[in-house]
Symmetry: C2
Subunit: 314 residues, 2 copies
DNA sequence: CTCCTCGCTGCTCATGTGAGCAGACTTGCA
DNA sequence: TGCAAGTCTGCTCACATGAGCAGCGAGGAG
């Protein structure tokens, strides 16, 4: 295509998309046949001169979703549009909303749903509609007694998901990470805790997010780890945590000793379920999102456009 | 339109614009009739959920051009798209290019074209193609002996436009602004200078830009004015200059004494031509662009999207 | 110089899409 | 509860559009 045709295709596109003229009218205006106009428009599209965006908080990017399924082997992918989004809070909110939509539309509805906790899942739980399912039981899959002022976020998440789904929540009454291995083993030996974990293993599906390995981590906010702890994990290659367990870019446990003190399902146990839904959004989670997908921790990923493109780049 | 329909229209838009499905296929996927799908898409467009942009340096915004013609009474308007533009240099370059395109397409071709000088017009002259016209004579309409290192920009502009148009340039051999009124009058009395000005008055069309009233002004760079001079002009209400003459937001001369020392056509003389083409781009020129349009200095405006929208706001 | 190949043009035809309309339905009010 | 007004639905029909094809012409090889 020569320079003249390129310019003509732009003129044609202006008349077609901005002025709503028919290809025939454009042909008369530019002294071309209508077939030539059609071809020019097709070329303008194909060359990427025409960008069509859907501006809506609930808009998704289907082509990116397809590429994630095909190129990264995911069973399903939900990618929310980042068009017109300024803050990372809005991005997270949109993604949580999309995950709530996904759960609502999910068929068959899981009888038992294992959930982790965190900012993203809490928001998801708030976005769910009452009656999104009828009779979904929810069980926590990792420890979540919150130590700080935001007490109860972990519990509130599971309870909200269960209540709105017409079922009941089973909480895992344990801290996320214990200081001593012995304490952790004692807690897991407790009959109630052991029962909850056993129940969690039997869940039909798991729903979890991931956290970044940096100072904004919920584990620091909740007092389970110090900033120094996280710095050390990063030095060992940690990119983030999933159900409380820190992994490197390949999805391997970074610090087995720490991992042994972490209460809840192991990553291998999570991987045993057929339906593993990860909800991960935001720039700071790109590395951990990559690790989660790479290591097959999730079968379904709900994420934002930028994160998805990052996954497809690598 | 209720919430459900809004969501459906977004889903439909995704399938239609991103997946290239037909409305009929979308109907089957969403369990709707194809007419309903058509209506949903129409509503999505009408509600502004669909944004179509033409991404190309030469892309124009025809609807904005029309509004400028209709609402601001311009004979013609060329508005270049700002989509994907980061720097103001690029914006200026695109606008200069568009002005060059406009000149090239102009019919009937003016036999004599009066031009001013400045960064924008220089760039325009460089964007013109050889043979953009056959036999266009160019005459400078305001003083332009450059006092600084960038010597010859004013002359080069006129010469390039003339040469590429197969004609010759007539330069106005005078400084833009003189220190003393007597000197200015003496210069204008000079036979050559008087002849050039007389020739300029007879031009079929004028082509000029406008400068902002701030420290980036070409008059400061060229040494005709100091930063303090400009600050004083701003205090008196100046928003910028046209053919070397500083005007306020209504298009009136701000400082008659200064104006009397400025060599070249007066603004009223410029207004006497039927075809007055102004080329004005960039954030810093919004106020002066407004003044130029408001006071009828130009009959044709070539500008960028943001400036055009500013003009339509007021 | 001639022939062959390739790409572009303008066409036919099948399909996709928007305008307009009659009937069903909901909504608001007495 | 009943009626009127307005809204939504699914249709027909006319128009707009893209796919595919035959013919033309430019450009290169022999």
């Amino acid at each position: 295509m020569d320079e003249t045709d390129e310019l003509l295709s732009i003129r044609a596109a202006e008349l077609y998309y901005e002025e709503n003229k028919t290809q025939d009218e454009i042909g008369q205006a530019l002294r071309l046949t209508r077939w030539k106009v059609g071809r020019l428009l097709a070329q303008a599209k194909q060359r990427g001169f025409i960008r069509i965006e859907i501006l809506h908080p609930r808009a998704r990017r289907l082509p990116i979703e397809r590429r994630l399924r095909e190129e990264r082997g995911l069973e399903d992918a939900i990618v929310v549009s980042a068009a017109g989004v300024s803050s990372s809070e809005e991005l997270q909110s949109r993604t949580a909303q999309a995950a709530a939509d996904y759960l609502t539309a999910l068929r068959p509805v899981p009888r038992t749903l294992g959930v982790s906790w965190g900012r993203t899942l809490f928001e998801l739980s708030q976005h769910l509609r009452n009656g999104w399912a009828t009779g979904v039981n929810v069980v926590q899959i990792n420890g979540g007694v919150s130590l700080n002022r935001r007490a109860g976020t972990a519990a509130a998440t599971a309870v909200a998901i269960a209540q709105k789904g017409g079922g009941s929540a089973t909480l895992l009454p344990s801290p996320a990470i214990l200081e001593h291995l012995a304490t952790k083993e004692a807690i897991e030996a407790d009959r109630v805790v052991a029962g909850v974990i056993e129940f969690a293993r039997s869940a039909d599906a798991y729903l979890f997010s991931a956290g970044p390995a940096d100072h904004t981590s919920v584990h620091i906010e909740s007092g389970y780890l110090t900033e120094t702890d996280v710095d050390l994990l990063v030095q060992k290659g940690a990119v983030g945590d999933v159900v409380g367990r820190y992994i490197d870019s390949e999805g391997n446990i970074v610090d087995p000793a720490l991992d042994a003190r972490t209460v809840g399902l192991t990553l291998d146990e999570v991987r045993e379920s057929r339906l593993r839904i990860a909800v991960i959004a935001g720039r700071s989670k790109h590395p951990v999102a990559d690790a989660v997908v790479r290591s097959g921790l999730c079968s379904v990923l709900v994420t934002d456009e930028a994160t998805a493109l990052h996954l497809l780049d690598g």
